[in-house]
């Protein structure tokens, strides 16, 4: 079936099976490779995108349910001032090891700071707990979120 999607502010038309997850429409139909496949079951968060600013797992979001919602992906999150701050903080803290999960981490972190601009440690833990990092860069993810929220980073934490 044909769907017209709003992806990073651009209207895109795709013809796919109704049950196709948004993840695979982005990756294999629209050739946007930034959103990652990790588990296929909503357990790891590597595929996180925003629908109308809310972080969702695109591997478990059928395309038929997306409708006209504004889809934001890692490729477009830098247009959002909060997203840009998060990306800059990720570079400043040198968060990544393998980097594979970081698109999802950045999407989740941007959603967090959008609704909670000054998160506590507990806010960060609660919001980011669904995003797995197999390299376990969690210390730096926390530091980078605090940096983006305006807190001075503690070196090496």
């Amino acid at each position: 079936m044909v769907y017209t999607l709003n992806v990073n502010g651009v209207s895109r038309t795709v013809d796919v099976d109704d049950a196709t997850p948004l993840l695979w429409v982005l990756r294999d139909v629209l050739d946007m490779k930034g959103t990652k496949f990790g588990c296929g079951a909503g357990l790891c968060g590597a595929c996180t995108v925003h629908l109308n600013g809310v972080a969702v797992r695109s591997c478990s979001t059928p395309i038929a349910g997306v409708g006209t919602a504004a889809i934001t992906t890692i490729e477009g999150i830098g247009e959002n001032p909060v997203g840009k701050k998060i990306q800059d903080a990720w570079l400043e803290i040198d968060v990544a090891q393998c980097g594979y999960c970081q698109a999802g981490q950045i999407m989740s972190a941007t959603a967090l700071l959008t609704h909670t601009p000054k998160p506590t440690d507990d806010d960060i833990t609660a919001h980011m707990n669904g995003n797995l990092c197999r390299c376990a860069t969690y210390n730096r993810i926390r530091t980078a979120i605090k940096l983006a929220a305006g807190e001075a980073p503690t070196k090496g934490a």
């Binding site: 796919v16 099976d17 049950a19 196709t20 997850p21 695979w24 294999d28 139909v29 050739d31 946007m32 490779k33 930034g34 959103t35 990652k36 496949f37 990790g38 588990c39 296929g40 079951a41 357990l43 790891c44 590597a46 992906t73 890692i74 490729e75 830098g78 990306q87 990720w90 570079l91 040198d94 990544a96 090891q97 393998c98 980097g99 594979y100 999960c101 970081q102 698109a103 950045i106 960060i124 833990t125 609660a126 980011m128 707990n129 669904g130 995003n131 797995l132 990092c133 197999r134 390299c135 376990a136 860069t137 969690y138 210390n139 730096r140 993810i141 926390r142 090496g156 934490a157």
Partner: protein, 742 residues
């Protein structure tokens, strides 16, 4: 003494040539292991540096990048001695070419120790050539010239020439002798030792294609590959016509595989299965849901973790089948001991579970195949593919992509063979992508193990005898992959009466190296049992270990490569920074200490843990508050940002293992399938990790692995300090057998 010596080999050499447009190309050969007797032939070039006329310096990264940071760290070493501005350095992934580059692997934390000295000399030689070119151009003596940030300056005449402007002239000059080229005084290092951002970080945070899964080609189809849930099973028949009728499916066929029935696939062969090829990956996966296969099951289909544990218990009652090391006479020492301590430990099979599921994109055309793949061993993968497909290696071209994690999993690259086979069958480019479930059920697992310890103490609480009967996996006197105990495991050479023996359980489950192979299990059991001994002796564990480390006695003409002085320093350092014995801790909170030598690194940990009272030990009753690490990996930390990240990641990896990770075997296959049943560490379980590097007077060594092994015993020992309960069977939420006992 270092296990890997770093020195210039006579096989190291450098060649200069011109680049179109006025640049300098330095090609060089680095033997894989300086001082080793085997290595690439004289004529091989295994890396290059290119200086273009605009001053941009391009350095080849020859080894796979899977998150260990080597693509950034090795070029930093060259750039330092070349004396260029890091901002003008670009990194290019080298092609896979065994003739040119020798082995291109990421494993064993070897990239830094193997390349440190050689890469410095290559950079210094390039700098020397540019200085010579400047002396010639400016008609001044070389001694009057200085370099900085990619420029050569003559202070007396106030003239400066850029490397870019000098590159063409430099390309015409003879290359200096690498053995005698002048190296920088490390006090003047500007790049080495600076926190440097990962070279791919800007692409990572903006979602640009980098990984194997991101590869696309015109006309590419997508494949899934169903293998038997029982290791070694092959296809008897499958409902291929039903699958072919599904939307988007172009091909569905049986791959017979190259293994003999029941053979454990260690990545060297092609397991049988059914390939489904469709116009999108999602449609291939949906079609797979309709697939019904009758499998021919191997004799190992009855194997299980329960069965392994039962056999281990039987073997523990018998004498070891084989001896690994004997010093003195343990039985006599036990008879004369003031105190004897006995305990049995176990650890489970583990999956690597890198975040990027296994994949490879292959294009077979005119008898040749090109493969794009995230792998830690592209050369080995090609050899395996050539063998399985009956092709010549020279007809297989491999391109390395960044890998979304490795941890040892991508040292076996059977997905390369699978993708190549499928592309040959269908005649178009094919991207094969495993599901998470495929990855978890078809790993080369970290093998589990069972250790049966007995120790003897004298009247002063000194360890005088130690026995380990290790029940491991294997057959015919040969350990399964990464399941071995060797004669160098600490405290060998530190206890006068020592007996390491082993017995083997036949295994149909594939095993392989995982981050700090062998050490990741052995550290847990040896360092935990030594802690038990310290407590049995009524001694503070720190004092006990510092005394033990003074007991070194070489028992053979070639002593083991373990420097007790370096470990002692690491131990004292970590105790100091963690406040060992100096802090008042609340009830239910305790500190645990552990240390381990692996991959040439000396690493000691202290963990602080709080245990909820009055409930059984479990993943819910244990909270790790903080871990302190002291690591001695030599004189220089090339990239402190990457190094600290590796250590923090290794420690948290270890915490994930001890809390909840276990692969269970039932009916000859793996029970767990995704992150709900195989829990990776999450943020709420991740404590701060404080890292201290000890810059000892030793050549730098690697860091991807050695910080993991001490983590599990440090946490287990802290659990004991906090609760009086000894964790002898990991993980904490162990499902199969045994449980935490007081």
């Amino acid at each position: 003494m270092n296990a890997i010596r770093s020195k210039v080999s006579r096989r190291t050499f450098l060649k200069a040539s011109a680049v179109t447009g006025g640049g300098l190309l330095l090609s060089f050969s680095l033997p894989q292991l300086a001082g080793a007797t085997t290595g690439p032939a004289e004529a091989t070039l295994n890396a290059y540096v290119r200086i273009a006329a605009d001053g941009i310096v391009t350095i080849a990264a020859k080894n796979p990048e899977v998150g260990q940071g080597i693509k950034t760290a090795l070029p930093m070493i060259i750039a330092e001695e070349l004396d260029v501005d890091w901002k003008n350095v670009r990194i290019e992934m080298a092609a896979v070419d065994a003739e040119k580059y020798g082995a291109q692997t990421a494993g064993g934390s070897t990239s830094i120790p193997r390349n440190w000295d050689n890469l410095r000399r290559v950079g210094a030689a390039g700098r020397q050539m540019l200085v010579s070119a400047a002396a010639k151009t400016l008609k001044v003596p070389e001694g009057e010239l200085t370099t900085a940030d990619g420029n050569v300056s003559h202070a007396a005449s106030n003239r400066t020439l850029s490397y870019g402007a000098l590159a063409a002239t430099a390309a015409t000059l003879p290359v200096p002798d690498l053995k005698t080229v002048a190296l920088k005084d490390p006090a003047n290092f500007k790049i080495i030792g600076q926190r440097t951002e990962d070279i791919d970080a800007p692409k990572i945070v903006t979602g640009q294609p980098l990984y194997g899964i991101d590869v696309t080609m015109p006309g590419m189809l997508y494949a899934v590959f169903e293998k038997c849930a029982v290791f070694g099973g092959t296809v008897a028949r499958a409902n291929l016509d039903d699958v072919k009728s599904m939307p988007g499916v172009r091909h569905a066929f049986i791959i017979p595989g190259t293994l003999v029935p029941g053979e454990v696939n260690l990545g060297g062969g092609l397991s049988g299965g059914v390939a489904i090829v469709a116009d999108t990956w999602w449609r291939a996966k949906i079609a797979r849901g309709k697939l019904r296969v009758d499998w021919n099951l191997p004799p190992t289909a009855s194997q299980s973790s329960v069965g392994y544990a039962a056999r281990a218990a039987e073997l523990a009652k018998q004498k070891p089948e084989m001896s690994v090391r004997v010093d003195g006479d343990v039985d006599a020492a036990f008879k004369g001991a003031a105190k004897v301590v006995e305990a049995s430990y176990s650890y489970p099979f583990l999956a690597h579970a890198p975040m990027e599921p296994q994949n490879a994109t292959a294009h077979f055309k005119d008898g040749k195949v090109e493969i794009w793949v995230p792998t830690q061993a592209p050369g080995g993968g090609r050899t395996q593919a050539a063998k399985a497909l009956g092709m010549s290696e020279k007809d297989i071209t491999v391109y390395m992509t960044r890998g979304g994690g490795g941890f040892g999993r991508r040292l076996t690259s059977e997905f390369m063979t699978e993708a190549a086979w499928i592309s040959r069958e269908v005649g178009t480019p094919v991207k094969l992508l495993w599901t998470r479930e495929d990855d978890m059920r078809h790993d080369a697992y970290r093998p589990g193990g069972f250790h049966n310890f007995k120790a003897g103490l004298d009247a002063n609480g000194k360890l005088i005898a130690l026995r380990d009967h290790f029940v491991s996996y294997g057959s015919d006197g040969k350990f399964a992959n990464s399941a071995n105990l060797s004669n160098d495991i600490f405290p060998a050479e530190f206890v006068p009466n020592l007996d390491y023996g082993a017995s083997l359980i036949p295994l149909g489950t594939p095993t392989g190296p995982m981050r700090a192979p062998r050490s990741n299990g052995l550290a847990m059991v040896f360092q935990s049992f030594l802690d038990e001994i310290a407590h049995a002796a009524g001694r503070d564990p720190l004092e006990f270990h510092l005394d033990l480390l003074r007991e070194h006695r070489a028992t053979s003409p070639t002593p083991l490569p373990f420097d007790a002085a370096r470990m002692t320093t690491a131990l004292k350092t970590v105790a100091e920074v963690a406040g060992w014995g100096k802090r008042e801790l609340p009830k239910g909170t305790g500190l645990g200490l552990a240390y381990y030598f692996s991959h040439s690194g000396y690493v000691a940990h202290v963990a602080e843990v709080t245990v909820t009272p009055d409930v059984p030990l479990s993943v819910n009753s244990v909270k790790v508050n903080k871990v302190w690490v002291a690591a001695d990996v030599g004189q220089h930390i090339v990239n402190p940002s990457g190094a600290e990240n590796q250590v923090q990641g290794a420690v948290l990896d270890g915490i994930g293992q001890i809390l909840g990770q276990e692969i269970t075997i039932a009916h000859g296959g793996t029970v767990e399938s995704n992150f709900d049943t195989y829990p990776l560490l999450r943020m709420r379980q991740a404590p701060p990790v404080e890292v201290h590097f000890i810059l000892s007077q030793n050549s730098p060594t690697g860091l991807g692995e050695p910080a993991l092994p001490p983590t599990l015993p440090a946490v287990a020992n802290a659990i004991f300090a906090a609760s009086g309960k000894r964790l002898r069977d990991v993980p904490l939420n162990k499902s199969m057998h045994g449980s935490a006992s007081a």
